[in-house]
Point group: C2
Chain length 214, copies 2
Amino acid sequence: MTASPTYGELTDKGASTNIAWHEASVGRDDRSQQRGHRSAILWFTGLSGSGKSTLANAVNAALFERGLATYVLDGDNIRHGLCKDLGFSDADREENIRRIGEVAKLFLDAGVIVLTAFVSPFRADRDKARDLVEDGDFLEVFCAADLEVCESRDPKGLYAKARAGQIKEFTGISSPYEAPETPELKIDTGKQDLAYSVELVIKALQERGVIPAA
Amino acid sequence: MTASPTYGELTDKGASTNIAWHEASVGRDDRSQQRGHRSAILWFTGLSGSGKSTLANAVNAALFERGLATYVLDGDNIRHGLCKDLGFSDADREENIRRIGEVAKLFLDAGVIVLTAFVSPFRADRDKARDLVEDGDFLEVFCAADLEVCESRDPKGLYAKARAGQIKEFTGISSPYEAPETPELKIDTGKQDLAYSVELVIKALQERGVIPAA
């Protein structure tokens, strides 16, 4: 081992080997360059049953097939882990979305296209997540299926429970859903078929230069 | 658009196109296979000034140079973001480490080799992070520089403040550091030079089959 820097020398920028180590922090741009695509946050929002998670996972799979770095954050991997200490009070819902926004920002920094799939009913909470990152890094994808469609699907039986009063403050029934006013993408996931919806998202990423054209 | 699945059909596993979409969730193994390396959590622990962050960033850079997917979680990107609501009480320190463990698990699932660089002084907290994942996915790297060395470096002036009583419960001075009993790797970051320490970590990853041999 010769001429290797030791811990005590790391602030000495005069020695080239030290610079190499001292400046060792790998940035988002380095990752983009190596992987051939930028990172972004795709924030899917919509009623329960609107198909957020289905669409996010399908987009994720399509991006993965192109060899891109992607990841989905949804109830499955967040609610029983990072946010398992949180309930469904207003304060806890806000904190839940706050943490998801912060984790999404970490993935963004890590060079990963991260897709979040949560109802995230409140505009202010979504806007806080958006404000954590630079313009262009946050794409809001509004899954705009009608309530009737979502309720008729009711894959988890939640609407039935909400109607029966067994779930309090259920979005769309007893708690408001504040639709995005200017989302980057609005997809009627009640009517559009899935493959076409995936194409719309992919196209939006290409148009913004996040991923290369096919 | 023909024969494309629609949202309402996604539970019908009888139709092959539906299966394709329904099973669209990309798993950790898929990512490993595509990227040519497994993921892992490298959990650096040690006193303030022991060189955890320096070593983690240097390892990160070395792995990045090999084209691998990596990311560092440290005070810079966690304390002002995900954990900005937490202070330094016992409960808050525990919650801080809990969240870091959960986020590390997400990166693991995303196929990323994630390096965490926090003092994480309590054995029970580190073991909880370890227990979140499978055996072999968690490598504890004990940065075992002597207190004297760390205090003489004191890059942030924290030891001086702790000695002056301006910081309460400072690890190593007024709060205990519980050294790992059986870490996967113990490096005397007070004596070993940095390049050699990096090599030790890389070798440990190779021996465990996380990354390919050079």
